[in-house]
């Protein structure tokens, strides 16, 4: 097991490497745009956005997705540095998460066992490396977990940091419920073990109390309801498919945990921590990384004995012993190579969003009145790029459930009564994927094609 200094150095190394990887991608997430637009509105109006101002279908209706602080921070990064600012923020948050995850993994394991696990968990987590408030959860979850493990090992004073962290986290992203649950698990285990129970329980109670302080956040009930019944038509909210790359990696974590548990057993804390996170991950694939993050320290400590049981042996460190000439030569070389990569990455930070998945060519044609019927995935992009033309539906989802979303689905899929809905909403312009049933039907019915390419078609009522 590495000492504190080596652990810190290795954690920093992994964090910097993660930063270098994270800043390589241009912003492209469909929800990023409406988060930015919401942040911009709040900065400009100096108040929390509590009612819809972007759509034609639920205009003026109150709603909350929480995350107001997360949206403001995202927009501030954009306002300060443009798209490059947003990318830099992403890199920093990923690096923070990677740093604390590495620290967690190195708590009880040798680097040659722990670091591959960290790398695998970070690769899995790339599915949530999008420019949205969920990045804050990616950074804060390992941080809180690290604090809790430290406190469990005796440094209970560190628990003081958790309530303020939860207070901020609550306003950054709805994933704060995950942090609160983890704090609760440690408190429960402390009570059952009768060790430092008072400190952990006080932290849990205070943590819960501070999450109630801000009315602008997503309530704990809303966060739990969303986690318990994720909207299945959104890809990231669907259950993990273990025959796809990310799902397969997740399955390896599940099977690794099972193997380690069957082979070497599990403690009460590990069961209390891993079972709910596994459940959550199986409910929605966006939560897979959090199970992997929590499993990393467990696997890191148990993988060695498991490998010994099947007589595979623990791999040697690729760098050899630090005191050997090879180790002395390789470590600075690796650090230098990483520094070069980071400098090159910073020098070539993406300065524009990747809009290849969006109907960029259609936005100049979207003038005029009447209701626009748009693809769900493009709603956020249209809010950001064409603020003068309210959307029919977008990724905020909650304000549209259930009625508007059901109507949208009926319309684009030509469900019974689609013509009545088209009239009721006064739809005059339709911007959809060309393979939508509605796009074909309206063309056949004589709607004018105002523009199109392979990804989109813009139709106007004749």
């Amino acid at each position: 097991v590495p000492g504190a200094a080596l652990s810190a150095r290795l954690s920093l190394l992994i964090a910097l490497a993660s930063f270098a990887v994270a800043i390589a991608r241009a912003p492209a997430d469909p929800d990023m745009f409406w988060h930015l637009a919401s942040g911009k509105w709040m900065v400009e109006h100096r108040e929390i956005l509590r009612a819809d101002v972007f759509s034609s279908t639920v205009s003026g209706q109150p709603y909350s997705v929480g995350e107001w602080l997360g949206e403001i921070v995202l927009y501030s990064a954009y306002a300060l540095g443009g798209w490059a600012g947003l990318v830099a923020l992403r890199g920093i948050l990923v690096a923070v998460g990677a740093f604390f995850l590495t620290r967690l993994a190195l708590r009880g394991a040798r680097p040659q066992v722990a670091l591959p696990l960290v790398a695998a968990a970070l690769i899995l987590s790339t599915i949530v490396w999008t420019d949205r408030p969920q990045l804050f959860t990616l950074a804060l979850f390992p941080l809180v977990l690290d604090l809790l493990y430290s406190a469990r090992d005796g440094a209970t004073r560190r628990l003081v940091l958790i309530p303020p962290l939860l207070l901020v986290w609550t306003d950054l992203h709805g994933g704060y419920a995950l942090g609160l649950a983890v704090v609760g698990v440690f408190a429960l285990e402390a009570v059952l073990r009768r060790r430092a129970a008072r400190a952990f329980v006080t932290t849990a109670v205070l943590g819960f109390a501070v999450t109630l302080l801000d009315p602008g956040s997503l309530g704990i009930g809303g966060a739990i309801a969303h986690a318990a019944a994720p909207p299945r038509f959104i890809v990231e909210e669907s259950p993990p498919d273990v025959l796809r790359p990310a799902g397969f990696l997740f399955a390896l974590f599940v099977l690794g945990t099972l193997t380690a548990g069957l082979s070497g057993g599990m403690s009460l804390l590990e069961v209390l921590l891993l079972v709910p996170l596994l459940w959550l991950a199986l409910l929605a694939q966006r939560d897979m990384p959090y199970f992997a993050f929590a499993a990393v320290p467990y696997l890191a400590t148990r993988l060695g004995p498991v490998m010994a049981r099947v007589r595979l042996g623990v791999p040697r460190s690729p760098f050899g012993r630090a005191s050997t000439p090879v180790g002395h030569a390789l470590a600075p070389a690796a650090a230098l190579a990483l520094a070069v990569v980071i400098v090159m990455g910073l020098a070539s930070l993406p300065t524009a969003a990747d809009v290849s998945a969006y109907p960029a060519g259609a936005t100049p044609l979207l003038g005029g009145g009447g209701t626009l019927l748009n693809e769900y995935d493009w709603g956020g992009y249209l809010i950001w790029t064409t603020p003068g033309r309210p959307v029919f539906v977008d990724g905020r989802l909650f304000p549209y459930l259930p009625a508007v979303f059901a109507d949208w689905s009926t319309l684009v899929n030509l469900g019974p009564g689609w013509r009545d809905l088209l009239e009721r909403y006064g739809v005059t312009t339709v911007l959809l994927r060309p393979d939508r049933a509605l796009a074909g039907a309206l063309r056949e019915d004589g709607w004018r094609v105002a523009g199109s390419d392979t990804r989109w078609v813009l139709l106007s009522r004749p």
């Binding site: 669907s238 993990p240 399955a251 099972l258 069957l262 082979s263 599990m266 199986l282 939508r436 049933a437």
Partner: protein
């Protein structure tokens, strides 16, 4: 391999009885029976004979024996025969699962039943009239055999041979036999080479089918690229009831690792591959529960025995004599043997008051009674097909001959109920992938260009659900509605 317990047989028969009120209604049973019927008369269909879109094209024969068994059951007693086959398969499945759990925890029937409950509850969703059910029985039996010694491992090869003729799930059986051989080779390093021929024979056993190497096509296709639009092939969803049961099973496995006794390498060799397969598709989730039931049984505490023990202790403490105190101490020291163990559950350590022959006679009587009750339940059950989910009333409006576009879920039913009208597509799926399936989806979804596809394919009639986009759009484009009810719409060009 041990004798099957009377207790497990009785519970198996009880579940067999419980399943008899469920009428025959599975959408795939019809094409399985139709295929098996051809095989029954000596004409194993190697090319398609039911559709007009792939007529004459090669089809899989990987489930030929499963199809034949179902067709034979129907030939013997019409659909009641199919129902009887299902009831017997369910009875066998439950019996094996409980018996395996009992073998893992001798003399503790309450623990064994509790450990088998997730398997019974999850497999309930697969208690349908398909070869898949027979595959589950084979799987449960394999788990039983692989937990035994050398003899169990050897018996697994003939089982695998039969399984390979019944259903594509045999591939998992082969994987488990190979994994068990590997685990035992690690455990018994000095004799590790003796597992090589066993593994080789296992592979060979899967190839001795009418399909030869092609037997892997269906298994490989289902496993590596499951058609996700078929609900049972979708990923396990914990927000549904079956998914929740699966989640609980997985959680139980993880939680059980807290117990002091670690799993053996052989248990790990079975549980880990099965856990992965269970994660791949909803229809595979019962496999984990079946494989895990003996693990649960051997690790879970006997809460009932502890409660009885403490109850006995409290009762005896109220007595004040020295002898009574001594009796109380004995009860506390060793868990009381449940009465069922004395009545013949294998491994029961209680004193045997009866002679072996009397015990055997008693067991035979109980098993015979169970069989009679099961037979009576089958006889009294409704032996007709439940057509409430099918477009029965619309059949008269269907034209004969090729040219019908049908709902995917109704393909098997139409093969059975409208043999004069070949189908566009049905639940056999793989022969239709990708061209026919793509065209089907484009037309039923009324995607742009659906009319061109209909013309190119020569579609002249459709039978679809009223909520399908094409049912809304086709009349707007001049197709005539010749029949309509809440279940189906029939349209002609």
């Amino acid at each position: 391999v041990t004798r099957v317990s009377t207790f497990a047989l009785l519970l198996g028969a009880a579940f067999g009885v419980l399943i008899t009120p469920q009428p025959v209604s599975d959408s795939d049973v019809f094409w399985h029976v139709a295929t098996g019927a051809r095989t029954l008369v000596g004409d194993l269909p190697r090319t398609d004979i039911f559709s007009w879109t792939i007529a004459g094209a090669p089809v899989l024969t990987d489930q030929w024996l499963g199809d034949l068994v179902f067709a034979a059951a129907r030939a013997m007693a019409d659909w009641r025969g199919v129902l009887a086959l299902r009831a017997l398969a369910v009875a066998a499945l439950v019996t094996i699962v409980i018996d395996t759990a009992l073998a893992a925890r001798p003399g503790r029937p309450s623990v064994a039943v509790a450990a088998a409950l997730p398997a019974i509850a999850l497999s309930r969703f697969a208690w349908t009239d398909r070869p898949e059910l027979l595959g589950l029985v084979c799987f449960a039996l394999l788990v039983r055999l692989l937990r035994g010694g050398d003899r169990g491992l050897l018996w697994s090869i003939p089982l695998l041979f039969v399984w390979s003729q019944l259903h594509g799930s045999f591939a998992l059986g082969l994987a488990l036999i190979l994994a068990t051989c590997a685990a035992r080779a690690i455990e018994e390093r000095r004799e590790r080479w003796r597992f090589v021929p066993i593994a080789a024979f296992a592979v060979l056993a899967t190839l001795l089918t009418p399909s030869g190497l092609a037997v892997w096509t269906s298994s490989g296709g289902h496993f590596l690229a499951p058609p996700r639009f078929v609900s049972e092939e979708g990923v396990p969803d914990l927000s549904t009831f079956p998914g929740m049961l699966f989640g609980l099973t997985l959680a139980f496995v993880v939680t059980t690792t807290m117990t002091t006794r670690r799993a053996t390498l052989r248990e790990i060799a079975i549980l880990i591959p099965v856990a992965f397969v269970a994660l791949t598709a909803a229809r595979h989730t019962p496999l984990l529960a079946i494989a895990a039931s003996p693990y649960f049984a051997s690790r879970w505490p006997d809460v009932l025995a502890r409660w009885r023990s403490s109850f006995d202790a409290r009762a005896t403490e109220t007595l004040s004599t020295t002898e009574q105190r001594s009796s109380s101490g004995a009860a506390r020291g060793t868990p009381r043997t449940p009465s069922l163990a004395r009545d013949g559950v294998p491994g029961g350590r209680g004193p045997q008051a009866r002679s072996d022959s009397a015990g055997a006679l008693g067991r035979a009587s109980v098993v015979g009674l169970g069989a009679i009750v099961l037979a009576a339940a089958i006889f009294l059950a409704d032996g007709r097909v439940d057509e409430s989910g099918y477009p029965r009333a619309a059949l008269a409006a269907l034209p004969s001959g090729p040219g019908l576009l049908n709902q995917y879920d109704w393909g098997g039913y139409l093969i059975y109920a409208a043999p004069a009208t070949p189908v566009f597509i049905d639940g056999r799926l793989f022969p239709y992938v990708p061209a026919v399936l793509d065209d089907y989806r484009a037309m039923v979804g009324a995607h742009p260009g659906w009319q061109d596809i209909a013309s190119r394919r020569g579609v002249r009639a459709m039978i679809v659900r009223p909520t399908d986009p094409i049912a809304v759009r086709a009349p707007e484009r001049g197709w005539r509605v010749v029949y309509s009810d809440p279940i189906a719409v029939v349209l002609v060009r």
